[in-house]
């Protein structure tokens, strides 16, 4: 199954990926990352289609797409 992994060290919680995801499967974590942000996370793995649009908009190269 396709999936994404968010690198919490790089993610600054800007939420742009949430708006880019056509399946609305990305949400923001409610826990601080070590860098002090609420990082993005794949909330609904089952709906990820591995399209990579989230990685296209991510300004911090924090999203790894597996397909």
């Amino acid at each position: 199954m396709p999936e994404i992994k968010v690198n919490e060290r790089l993610c600054k919680g800007c939420e742009l990926c949430t708006s880019a995801c056509p399946k609305q499967c990305i949400a923001m974590s409610d826990k601080f990352s070590t860098t002090g942000y609420y990082p993005a996370m794949l909330a609904k793995q089952e709906c990820c289609i591995g399209c990579g649009l989230c990685a296209q908009i991510c300004p911090d190269l924090a999203i790894e797409v597996y397909k």
């Binding site: 939420e15 742009l16 708006s19 880019a20 990579g52 908009i57 300004p59 911090d60 190269l61």
Partner: protein
């Protein structure tokens, strides 16, 4: 499952020190990918500007030089003419390119200098703290026009692609945006083409990228994206303003 988006070889693997939601990171990734995909990384020299992206000299994984504010195209000219086998690009913001460095921008285009310019237009001075830029929109608030840009006091925004379009020397001019994933993909195409033109010795190429500055705009990243779509794009229409093909046709017609 396989990783489909490896870290681009054209970028050094390190965290980018830009604000959350800043468009620089997207364009950095795009340039880094283009350097890798075109196989030019090891013969590319980049010019980092003054501004937030001054640290581009750390980020891009190729030889880099950081120069005075606005002088990128002049520095790139010096490098390109000294080492024509190198691919040379200048990465600049709006204050850098359209204000203090306007002369260098126009004249390197007029000389049809065989360089690639990546122009980040976010309509604000980011690093110095949100002052008015030459591209700041009418009515847009900035720390040096706190009541909003008033044309009677501050004049009108400058449209670089339209301005450079009048120059014979400009070979490729395109305005894109990175406010959505689809636009980021288009931006990558444009950036790649701007490098390809240099490889083919077609002269001056410039890609103007409308980009978010949530900190300078005092907006959330998501509202910044909306601001580009609603406010910036009507003033700065996306599209190709000059292509090498048009230029060749024009030259053919003239002869």
């Amino acid at each position: 499952m396989e990783l489909v988006n490896k870290w681009p070889a054209g970028l050094v693997e390190m965290p980018l020190r830009y604000c959350p939601g800043c468009g620089h990171g997207i364009v950095h990734r795009i340039v880094g990918e283009c350097l890798e995909e075109l196989g030019i990384r090891e013969r590319t020299v980049g010019v980092a500007p003054v501004g937030c992206s001054v640290f581009a000299d750390d980020y891009f994984n190729c030889d880099m030089i950081q120069g005075p504010h606005g002088r990128g195209p002049a520095i790139a000219t010096g490098i390109k003419r000294s080492k024509p086998e190198c691919i040379v690009f200048s990465y600049q913001g709006d204050g850098d390119l359209a204000s203090i460095g306007m002369a260098e921008t126009i004249h390197s285009a007029a000389r049809s200098e065989n360089i690639t310019v990546i122009f980040i237009n976010n309509a604000i001075y980011g690093m110095t703290g949100g002052q008015m830029a030459p591209t700041t929109l009418i009515g847009q608030k900035a720390s040096t026009c706190p009541r909003g840009r008033d044309p009677k006091v501050n004049g009108y925004p400058i449209r670089i692609c339209e301005l450079l379009q009048s120059l014979e020397g400009a070979s490729y001019l395109e305005r894109t945006s990175v406010h959505t994933a689809a636009n980021a993909i288009k931006t990558k195409k444009a950036v790649k083409r701007a490098f390809q033109n240099q490889i083919e010795c077609k002269g001056f190429s410039l890609v103007e990228v409308l980009s978010m500055c949530p900190t300078g705009w005092e907006a959330t990243p998501l509202n910044s994206v909306k601001y580009i779509a609603d406010k910036m794009m009507p003033l700065y229409p996306l599209g190709v303003y000059r292509s090498p093909e048009q230029r060749e046709q024009k030259e053919g017609g003239a002869a």
